[in-house]
Every structure is written in structure tokens, then in C-alpha cells.
């Protein structure tokens, strides 16, 4: 695949039905340079403008913008735009950091395997005669291919609280569910795996996939599409599972109803 330069714009707006106050937020929306992607021309706007900004990093390497708006306001928005120059040949995302590897080896809240996933894992490793000769990345690729066949993409049957085992039992779900089940399988196999949130060319929403640790590096796999992460993807954040990668967390005072609009535009710059 050839290298690509992608222009991206993420817009999220929440409209409140009446003014709210004491609104606190924490936002993880900043894509960073990896071995595969180089970010430039980055502009991040969080508003309305009276939002007081603080910044920090979480332990998974994500940058967080946080603050609070005490005055009444009726909307909240995040805009992230920039350019990503993505390699078409280097699939490596990042060098492994031994110190941080422990987080990704054991089941996290959303990825605890139940009887269903454990049984499926047993079946998968018994079915493939050469399984034990594969390296960790190839094992991940194998799980991805099988899961892609056995699990159906259906939206609306699961929600953001659905965990890996519940989704597996349903046999249906969305990218978050594919990623959780996949992480659960990898960790059962002793392969460190992590959850990734990002954007994909041509999609109108944010997307989720996973990375596996193999031979010194993190590599991205997209089980929803049965693809290696390549020049078409922009990584935004990562963590143990969905809960570590929530783009916008917020709390406020008021009885307002919320309407959230999200738009993601990713296009190749030719």
C-alpha cells in the first residue's frame, strides 16, 4: 500500500434543552505521532469559549483536556482537525514499553472472558494445527479472521455498557464489541492487547480497533473489517478497554435533555 496524507475533522456537539451550570468535562481527543502516523496542523477547539482548560496525560499515554464551566450555557462542542501523514508500509504503531505492558495482559472490566469466550478460545486453538508455531501478531490475525466470520456486524443490539462476554453471547454487535472480544481472546492467549479509538477513511463516526504486542512492537488490527491497520486509519487514543478511551466525559447540574451530534470527515489529500 502507498503512503497517504489524510485530512481529518472530528466535530462533536451536545445541545442541551435548557441552560446547564457547573459543567465539568475531561476530553481525550488528541491524535499523536506514532511510527505509522505523523500528525500536523492540529487544531483542537473545546467550547463554548469560557471553558477553562487544564491539561494532563493519563497512564496509557493519552492527552486529556479538562475543565469546568460554571456559567449557564446551552451547548458544548469539541472540534479536532489536522493532517495525518500515514505510512503505507510500516505497520508498527509503537515500541513496547515493558513497564506499561502489565495493564494489557489481564482481563479488564469490559473484557472479562466468560464461559462463552473461553470455550470459543479453546475451539480456535484446537482447530488450527499450526497455532503454536505462530508469532503473537499472526495469532492475533488468526483470531481476527475467525471472529470476523463468526460474529455479525449489527448496530443497535448492544450499547456502550455491553461487555465482551455479553456481546459474544449475542453473536452480534458493533466495532466496540469486536474489539472487546478480540482483546479478551488475545489476553487469554497471553498476548498483551489494547483498545484503540480512532478514525477511518470514509466513515462518518469514530471507530474502534485493537493493537497486539508482538516482537517488540504494537501492531493494529481491525476485527470489524478483518484488516491490518494501515494508511487509512488515524489513531486517537488507547487503553485497556472502552472505558479508558471515552472521548468526552462530562457531568453538570440541570435537568436538560441532551442531543449529541457527531461528524467525522477523513479524506485523502491528493
Amino acid at each position: 500500500m502507498k503512503s497517504k496524507t489524510l485530512e481529518f475533522k472530528y466535530q462533536m456537539e451536545i445541545v442541551f434543552s435548557e441552560p446547564i451550570i457547573q459543567h465539568s468535562y475531561a476530553v481525550k481527543c488528541e491524535p499523536k505521532d506514532t511510527m505509522r502516523q505523523k500528525i500536523s496542523d492540529l487544531i483542537i477547539r473545546i467550547g463554548p469559549s469560557e471553558a477553562k482548560l487544564g491539561e494532563t496525560d493519563d497512564i496509557f499515554g493519552n492527552h486529556i483536556y479538562y475543565g469546568n464551566m460554571t456559567e449557564p450555557h446551552e451547548n458544548f462542542y469539541i472540534e479536532v482537525s489536522g493532517l495525518a501523514r500515514n505510512s503505507g508500509t510500516d505497520r508498527r504503531e509503537e515500541k513496547l514499553n515493558d513497564r506499561a505492558l502489565g495493564f494489557y495482559k489481564y482481563a479488564s472490566k469490559h473484557t472479562v472472558p466468560g464461559a462463552g469466550i473461553k470455550g470459543y478460545y479453546q475451539k480456535l486453538i484446537e482447530r488450527n494445527k499450526s497455532y503454536h508455531t505462530l508469532n503473537d501478531l499472526s495469532k492475533g490475525e488468526y483470531f481476527m479472521g475467525e471472529l470476523y466470520k463468526d460474529f455479525a456486524y449489527v448496530s443497535g443490539v448492544t450499547d456502550i455498557k455491553t461487555n465482551a462476554e455479553e456481546a459474544f453471547q449475542l453473536g452480534q454487535g458493533v466495532c466496540q464489541d469486536y474489539a472487546h472480544i478480540m482483546i479478551s481472546l488475545c489476553r487469554l492467549a497471553g498476548i498483551p492487547a489494547r483498545y484503540v479509538v480512532g478514525f477511518m477513511i470514509g466513515e462518518g463516526y469514530s471507530h474502534a480497533w485493537i493493537e497486539v504486542a508482538s516482537e517488540g512492537y504494537w501492531y493494529g488490527l481491525d476485527p470489524t473489517n478483518n484488516l491490518y491497520i494501515d494508511a487509512n486509519y488515524i489513531k486517537v487514543s488507547c487503553g485497556r478497554d472502552y472505558a479508558d478511551c471515552i472521548i468526552d466525559k462530562g457531568s453538570f447540574l440541570g435537568n436538560a435533555r441532551q442531543q449529541q451530534n457527531i461528524s467525522v470527515k477523513v479524506a485523502e489529500v491528493l
Partner: protein, 437 residues
Amino acid sequence: MEQLYKQSEVVNDLLARYGVKFGIYKNGNFKEQLFPFDAIPRVITKEEFNYLERGLSQRVRALNCFLKDIYAEKKIVKDGVLPEEFLYASSGYLAECESIMPPKGIYSHISGIDLVQSKDGTWYVLEDNLRVPSGASYPMIARELCRRSSPGTFMENKVCDNRNYASLLKQVMDYSNTGGINVIMTPGRYNAAYFEHSYLAEKTGSVLVCGSDLFVEGDHLYYRDYTGKKIQVGAVYRRISDEYLDPMTFKEESVIGVPNIMKVYKKGNVALINAPGNGIADDKGIYYFVPKMIQYYLGEESVLNNASTYLPFYQKDMEYVLENFDKLVIKDVAEAGGYGVVFGSSFTKEKKEDFIELLKREPRRFIAQEVIDFIDIDIMEGDQQVPRKADLRAFVLTGEDTYVWKSGLTRFSRNPDSFIVNSSQGGGFKDTWVLSQ
């Protein structure tokens, strides 16, 4: 001392007067209940306390070293003393606390160590509570009222005063305070321990607050008074659990926390008492390693005994557990309190086989312990003295020094057949005397 026993009712009336209660939910309704007090104290001699003091102080110092290490370099894992999975797979371990150094490097400011004494007189540590251990206020106020009800008893017996708890707590808060006022943060008046929260606030001169009274601005934590003035907060003795502390870091749906308080904490601009993430040190699986920690961090032999514990995770222990299954008590490390505790002898043959299957499949999930036959302490029932099971929660405070409070909460079970001494299950409490001579 007989004189004091006769005053039991008087003391209980006084406790009622001062609203010494705990809250419980029954069929979805909140009810306040008096905490029944038994006037026969647990008496600990000076020599015995010296021993306990050495052991408890050592234990808490080691646990603080452990927490400091585990959220930073993790030497104890690298050196092979603690297997990695016991850390990362524990629900008490919070990755969000990685690399945060709490003010003055203290993680467990207030530690509640649960002990029992076996019939041969040996003390055993059953549990370390390093999150939000409660209960110190009860013996503290009970002592005050016992002295009022039976002054003669305290003239005849030389008992160390335990009413200094509030000033010890205040010293701990002041020592860790990063600049600003001290507050005690409660989930609200419908919490089981609300009496304690409000009483300790009164006695330490701290401001009693709910999460919604505090807010983060810039890199600091503030409290807003009724005239609109902002007041900086330097230490929060929080009586809510980690997962509710900060909706922006932990459970987003929490309405009793303070959004972004963890960011302020991470920058070193407020002390959280106790530090978030302490749950890793009171995990049932980690308990097994505490004597090893004492050896590892302090280079000392553990003064106090753990109950003999086996980790099926280790092959040798698994063999022992399988051979001696019927005489052991098995605990699920994922469950809190009295849940997930089963006696090996209570299984039917079929259930036992199923359980052993589970144990072999998930060895890390369980620990097995020898059953301790612990001593009874008398309580008054009417005008009769009858023996009941009782445990002891000792309180260890860590500020500039580590200090073992010369008292403790002794809880007893009212039911003669029960080993469960939990207050929400109808138990009562006693004063704990440490003799000064």
C-alpha cells in the same frame, strides 16, 4: 469493673442521646439504628499492647512501602516476590493512580487492621483495611460516656485515654495538607457511617462537605461558602470509595464525587486521605504476601501472624488445599466483606467436585485458610454474662510517624452461633481498653 457493667443501660441511653447510630437499608427504606453497646470492655494489657503495637506499626509501614512501590517502580514484582497477575488482575489496583506520588508519600493514613485472638492466646491478622476503614468514633465517644457513668471504674483501673483519636487524625490531616482547609467528605446523611463522618468533622474542626460543595478550578480544589467566597482545600479525608471519587476519572455516573479532583491530586495540590488505589493492598490475594513484604521492604521478620493461608496459584499449596479441603475455609478474592467465604466441610460431595474443578481452572481467584478457633468475650445479656465471638479492629495512623491508637473497635456477634460480627447484621460493639500499667 462490676460497677460499669451495671451502667450498661445508662451508657446506651447516653449513646442514644448523642445520636450514635448507623444507617441501614431495609426493603429499600433508610432507617437509623442505635449501635448496641456492651459495657464489658476488651482489656489488653500493657505488655500485650506493646507487642501488638510493634506488629501493627511494622505491618502498616510495610504496606505503605508496598503501595509506594507498586504505583511506581514495582520492584517487588520485578524481584519475583509478587507474581505480576496478583497485581494487574486485582480489582483493587487502579491504573489511574500509576506514577502519582501522594503528598508526603503517604498512601494509607488511616489503616484499620482486623485481628482475632485464638484460644491459645495468639493474635492473627484477618484483614487489612486501607481504603476507608470506619468505626473509631464509636469507642471514642463510648469511653467518654463510660467515664461519666462509672467514674469509679476508671479510678481503679489504669486505662490509656482513647479520646485523643480526633487530635491524632487532625495531626495526620495537617501533616499531609498542601495548603488550605481540611475537609471531611461524606456521601451524605443516608450513608451507614454518617454519624462518624459528622462527629469526626466536629471533633477535628474540619468542614463536613459533600462532593457538590467542592469544585476544581485550574489546578486547585476549592470550597464555596454562602457568601460566594472561594476557599482552597488542602486535605480531603474522603469517606467515599475510589470509584465514586471523580466521575471524570472513574465512574462517570457518580454524583457524589468531585469532577477532576484526581487532576488536582496528581499535580500534588491536595491530599486525599486515604490515597486512591489502596484497594490493591487489602486484596485477599495480596494479604498472603504481607509477611513477605515486611521481609522485602523492611528486612524484618513479621511480628504479627497471618492466619495460615494457601494460594492454590502455587502448585505446592494447591496440593495441600486438595488434601485438606474439608478443614479449610476458602475465600473468593474478588468478593468483599463476608461474601464468597465458604467452609470446605460445608460442601456436598457433588458440589465439592464442581468447586474443585473451578479452583483448578481459576486458581488465582481463591485463597484457602486454616480455620481459627478464636476466643469468646463475655457480654451482658440481661444480668447474665454470656460468651460471644468478637474481633478487634485496630487503627493505625500515619502522618509524620506511624502511631497505633491505644484502643480499637471490638465488635461482637449477638447470635451465639455466628462468627459474623458485622454491625449491619445485628452485632454490637465494646470499648477496647489498653492498660497503662
